[in-house]
């Protein structure tokens, strides 16, 4: 009885102090993350801390803990989600190792009354929310950009991601769509760069000697600098390489821009999308109606915004934006 009175009293005080936040101030949100071994994921986790730290401190939510599995395995992550259910979190924000293999664990969480919001690596289980990336459009927009700067078209080299991964197929399909839309371009070579600069460098160095002159390189992010290194090692003219917002890519672009006016663009998803997912989960817990499928906005960098973005990007990191509660509400409204 005593406790109850106290809770009631504190709830009343909170309700008076910050009426908009009262609904979720006793809720806890957990981040279930499947992988932390690259700069994008590291930035994602840092953004999560940057945004959720103050949100916990000012009482918007009671807790926001981040957990990462060691092995990037769906089974391991399913066990992690089951632990989170037992620990009694109110919401789980999820970057999933597999779109389907976690569905069982996600269903268990839903049945336990837990809100599950998946982002980036989404899950297909209908009870979960999905904050998905339109990867096809990401691929298509690259060719559209190239059509703008190279109106006469030319040969393209495509650098793909990790073979067999959904994201790789989607971006590549988008690029194929773009080439169909702008038939002055032709893909003359395709290699898998695994989203890593050194793998891309190796693959490009291997195929380059057998290729005709290249006008443009379409990429998936994390591979543009490696491609540039491989091409710079030959006596070929530098093609327009679409970048993927990594700091080393932007820095190289800036050096080339200053030296010879090199122009390109860069597009990727900001790692801060984890904070968008956090606010979406908070909105759902707050009782707001949120559509099950939301789309992440792209973070695109152009010739005139390069300097600003480069200045804001941590050395060796990825260009990033962190989302606010207002941004999340705007994304939710756009999907309604």
């Amino acid at each position: 009885m005593n406790t109850r009175t106290m809770l009631l009293a504190s709830a009343t005080i909170l309700a008076v102090a910050m009426p908009a936040l009262a609904e979720t101030s006793d809720k806890t949100i957990a981040l279930s993350n499947n992988y932390a071994g690259n700069s994008w994921r590291q930035a994602m986790l840092t953004s999560w801390e940057t945004i959720t730290g103050p949100a916990v401190a000012d009482g918007t939510v009671a807790g926001a803990d981040a957990f990462t599995t060691a092995e990037n395995q769906a089974t391991e992550q399913a066990a992690q989600i089951q632990n989170m259910i037992l620990q009694g979190y109110n919401a789980i924000v999820l970057n999933a190792a597999s779109p389907t293999a976690l569905n069982g664990a996600v269903k268990e969480a839903c049945d336990a009354g837990i809100t599950v919001v998946s982002f980036d690596g989404i899950v297909t289980e209908p009870c979960a929310w999905r904050i998905a990336v339109n990867f096809k459009e990401m691929g298509r927009s690259q060719v559209e950009y190239l059509a703008g700067v190279l109106p006469e078209g030319g040969n393209l080299l495509e650098i793909r991601g990790l073979a067999g991964v959904f994201v790789d197929d989607e971006i590549s399909a988008g690029i194929a769509e773009g080439v169909a839309q702008f038939p002055q371009f032709k893909i003359v070579g395709s290699v898998h760069g695994d989203w890593a600069q050194d793998v891309a460098q190796k693959a490009v160095a291997g195929i380059l000697p057998s290729l005709p002159e290249i006008a443009g390189v379409v990429t998936q992010g994390g591979d543009g600098y490696g491609a540039a290194q491989a091409i710079a090692a030959t006596d070929r003219p530098m093609p327009v390489i679409v970048m993927g917002n990594r700091e080393d890519e932007l820095k190289w672009w800036k050096e080339q821009k200053d030296a010879n006016g090199y122009a390109t663009m860069s597009v990727s998803i900001a790692p801060g999308v984890s904070t968008l997912a956090f606010w979406v989960a908070q909105q759902i817990l707050d009782g707001n109606e949120v559509p099950k499928d939301l789309t992440v906005p792209f973070l695109r960098i152009d010739q005139d915004t390069l300097e600003d973005n480069l200045a804001n990007t941590q050395a060796g990191g990825v260009a990033n934006v962190e989302y606010s509660q207002a941004d999340a509400i705007a994304v939710i409204d756009a999907a309604k």
Binding site: G37, K202, S210, D248
Partner: protein
């Protein structure tokens, strides 16, 4: 000629040369220089880790070092972070990388010997510790290498990539160690029969320790060079060198069961592994078919090599 074909490493070279010819054939020979230089450069990294792995595999069944990728990542990130792009600190960076390799190698063998953990488990768990240390030291940041090192690793001397020359030098050292020193005889003997080697008075533990140390140091040097070559260290930069380091040893004609190793085969196999991917990319084969083809070709080469061995025995 017959003696040449009796060598266990010859098939990896036969495979590498055929794939090389098939690839330059597409462009009528125009890509010869570019492709050869690229192949030598990237093969050099596989050679460095392959030699270390070969010495470990020589020790006999169950001996393998799975901490190679993590060691590469840690050595690369810490060395580049310390050098911070300054030309004057190049040697310091190399020494740091070697010390990291030495540390990992020592801990690997400490786990194997003191805690009696099988090498495959000991080095795997060590790789988690090392990888976490790499994540912790720089949170995935990519720091540029000093300019002199970047230039050295990416340029050529007399048309041969400098990296390949470094790998060649290390291979020569490894060949002398393996065939011209008591140490080489001892680890071959340990690989053929550990109890027999022990009874013959060979210091089994000392030799095994030195071998794990050597493997980790080579991986660390490789990580240091690779980070400088590709314009910065990345946490995942070693990942493809785990299977690669084992594959080049096996394709190169070294006995997987240990006790019978050779250095030249590592070169043939490393060149072959790079060229086969380049060839299939050049022919525009899709990723699925390419992976299947890579597997089939590797199996064929291994079968050819082992078939020859049976004939001799």
């Amino acid at each position: 000629m017959k003696a040449l074909f009796a060598k266990p490493w010859i098939w990896s070279f036969v495979a590498a040369v055929s794939v090389w010819l098939a690839t330059i054939g597409v462009t009528g020979g125009a890509s010869t220089v570019g492709l050869s230089q690229a192949a030598l450069t990237f093969a050099a990294f596989s050679v460095l880790v392959g030699i270390g792995q070969m010495f470990v595999i020589t020790l006999g069944p169950g001996n393998i070092d799975l901490s190679v990728p993590a060691t590469m990542a840690l050595a690369g990130t810490v060395a580049l972070k310390y050098m911070d792009g300054q030309n004057g600190l190049v040697l310091h960076g190399l020494i740091i990388a070697i010390f990291i390799g030495g540390g990992v190698g020592t801990l690997n063998y400490a786990l194997i010997k003191a805690l009696r953990i099988p090498p495959i488990i000991a080095t795997l768990s060590m790789s988690f510790v090392v990888q976490s240390a790499a994540i912790w030291t720089n949170r995935g940041l990519r720091i540029k290498p000093p300019q002199v090192l970047a230039d050295f690793t990416t340029s050529t001397s007399l048309g041969i990539p400098n990296i390949a020359l470094v790998a060649l030098l290390m291979s020569a050292v490894a060949w002398v160690l393996l065939h011209r020193t008591p140490y080489g005889r001892w680890i071959m003997a340990i690989g053929q029969s550990l109890p027999a080697a022990r009874m013959a008075g060979i210091a089994v533990d000392g030799n095994r320790f030195v071998t794990y140390l050597f493997c980790a140091i080579l991986a660390a040097i490789c990580g240091y060079l690779l980070a400088c070559f590709s314009g910065g260290a990345a946490l995942n930069m070693g990942s493809e060198y785990l299977l690669m380091s084992i594959a080049v040893v096996v394709i190169g004609g070294t006995a997987v069961a240990g006790g019978d190793s050779n250095v030249p085969g590592i070169w043939g196999a490393s060149l072959f592994m790079f060229l086969v991917v380049s060839m299939l990319n050049t022919y525009g084969v899709g990723a699925g078919v390419r992976l299947i083809m890579t597997g089939v070709i590797i199996i064929t080469v291994i079968l050819l090599a082992s078939g020859r061995k049976d004939a001799i025995r």
